[in-house]
Symmetry: D3
Subunit: 171 residues, 6 copies
């Protein structure tokens, strides 16, 4: 009755940059799946703060001392998410939910992905209460004006943010 | 790298009675977890159509020919869900979502459960599009007036419903 | 190119009692349909303030001087709405929307009705801004404590309410 | 008691491009109204994939064999929707709803339009369940990455999309 | 430029019983208003766990050592809230919001109250993040099954709860 | 028992331009607070119709004959709202709510602001029913096409709008 196959899940997103909310979802996902592929979406039409490479590097550095780091794979992808998921043999796409407004578009995207492929399903994990107010864009807005972002993002992200936002003093 | 432990999930609910939407969630859950415990909530304050025993029997009969039936356990519980989940060594509580309105109360309940125990987490699976309009209460309403419930519930549930609702002809 | 058939719509509800919001929806409906059947739902399980007969009489009296009164038919029904709609040759079911919360359950009911019958469709009309805060239950609550309900319900409803709620002075 | 006037409705939108969800709404509208004017909004500030002329042509071609095609008029407009509706003697503006999020902004727009003109009202039709996940923007995103868009848009739209997106193979 | 008048606000509710979320709102309110009247709604039609008198006593005891206790008045009321607010010379009605679903009905009630009286307005304060998942009914449900309610309600409420729910051990 | 301190509230926003909905919120706020600072957000990344200076001037002119004008301070700010609020000794940030969709993002922003500072809290005032459909962006859209904006914005705003939108005739 022991499951011999590895259960792989994709956690796709912009991660521009990674927040503590994302870290929380990844850790929750590891309790359910054997491997989580953190997949940075390559989207040329969106104006990103960090390059895909910078974003991947920040994610990698953030988990460098993680007890379960060998089960966290950092990757990037373009094209259709379902094609990518099939190619990686993933059984699920993980999405974090912070609020209702998220749910709406997530729901539509999940329905769309199911129409495109029946082999992969979307599961929703709830972000911890402490991270409910954090998103990459709020993080960037706070940083832009020199607000304190400690407790909102992992250390490697904070370091990289300081390069971009001179107002971010040593907080 | 093969996970030796069984991953058990609880799928709690009233199941008064089981609908095809519930069946869909159970089947999705089996792609992620090794075992699903379908746990009928014993709630004396709510007016139920079927007894807990009848509900459990309908669930069992509905999966009697299922290819994965040995991994579907039908049980009942009273008391706090998190206590029950811990006792069963479950890593997750599965909830199906049909619409926004569900999400609201689910969200609150999930936060509550997390406060009561950090060892179990709630994951949300999306009901298939075809089941988005089905709930146990709608099923009962349609049956009460003799509407056609084929395609809304498994066969054993339909049989049992006919005993309760004489208007339900052989549809 | 002139449409020879009459277009009939059903406007179902509890109407316990009729409010000015309902009147508004009926008048809007008459600009689109040839006939509106105001259909009082006979629901023995719900605790109603007025009997189905009293509710029908209040509706009739409220439209007695209406310029278009011959196109407003007051009726009652039990059973499945779609069966009733088919029997009346209705092309549409009218629903008024006051707020988001309405929409949720309306949406589910509309999907359900479509599954039960493809011949009738649900259309949503928006209640006028002035009536957005009025519902039968709020009307009853205000009346119970002797609040001023003028401007919330037609005259015949106000008269009938005074019989039930002695606190309702001549306002 | 036969209504001698034609009831005309406007179905406004960007239609960049037409989807099967739009087609569904137009067909539903034809069961209620004598004529539907599909009105492509000319909005210079929005970045469109297709020109207004291309969009109108795709709509026309999509209904070329429709049994009711003489009652579907394809047009374009700029300026205020209510002015356009009055000029066309329309009794209603049709809007399709796919999800809650739509409803919110639709509601505000409908209130606004009513303030600007009391002669025209907005009615909401519910998109069929199968089209609930389709929008012009999702269609374009899927096409951009070569996903299968059959079943999401009429044939003439699919042909035109292939000119724009070389990844769209003969699916 | 110093405001000579006292600004009084009503904080109405069932408080069956008081939770830490309610305490949080009262404390926030005191930063804006000179006096807060915590007004327990006397509603004979709702099945309450505690009598109005018991609820008032729990509230009083919970603030007995509060630094600002002379500005917290505990009262009860029946009838229309706006009449009560006028009689108390209140400038505002305070409502706490925990989630979207609250907002919906709060919005309608606030509109209703404004229609009934233009002299009092409703203001919304946001419950602290820690209390977002707590409501009187969830508190009662947890207590019923012997769950740990410390950190959810003030000490006097917890004591009283133990009398009602024997499963509530000394947690 | 008389409160000796002035209670100052910040009402932040883009005000591009001021609408009657904003005016309504300011007047409601003055019934609760001693001073309202109307703070125009300086946001270089957003494409504004009017300069910050023009917007401030329109606000000032709109309240020039207001009975309480000495308690309305017009200002502008950049950077973090909480830093600005602290610097002004404000006890509260006022936000107006028009609909659900507002609430969502307001909620997140309010949580964020609380994390950044515990000294200032956000309170929500409900826009009057008449202004529920008005926003700066809808106002601009109506004006762009020559629609009638009387009753949507104060006179000084209407005058300034006419300079920008030649289609706005003397309505």
């Amino acid at each position: 009755m022991i499951n011999q196959e590895q259960r792989i899940a994709i956690y796709p997103g912009s991660f521009d940059p990674l927040t503590n909310g994302h870290v929380d979802i990844i850790e929750r996902g590891l309790k359910i799946f054997d491997k989580i592929i953190v997949a940075v979406l390559y989207n040329p039409s969106k104006n990103a703060l960090f390059s895909v490479e910078e974003r991947m590097e920040m994610i990698r550095k953030s988990f460098i001392n993680h007890s379960n780091k060998e089960n966290i794979i950092v990757d990037s992808f373009g094209g259709l998410l379902v094609d990518y998921a099939k190619q990686k043999d993933a059984v699920a796409i993980i999405r974090g939910m912070r609020a209702i407004s998220d749910f709406e578009s997530e729901f539509q995207m999940a329905l769309m992905n199911r129409k495109l492929s029946r082999d992969v399903q979307t599961i929703f994990l709830m972000t911890g209460l402490r991270w409910i107010f954090i998103s990459s864009s709020i993080l960037k807005e706070v940083a832009r004006f020199g607000g304190d972002i400690s407790g909102m993002a992992p250390h490697p992200v904070k370091c990289k943010m300081k390069e971009k936002f001179p107002l971010l003093k040593d907080k």
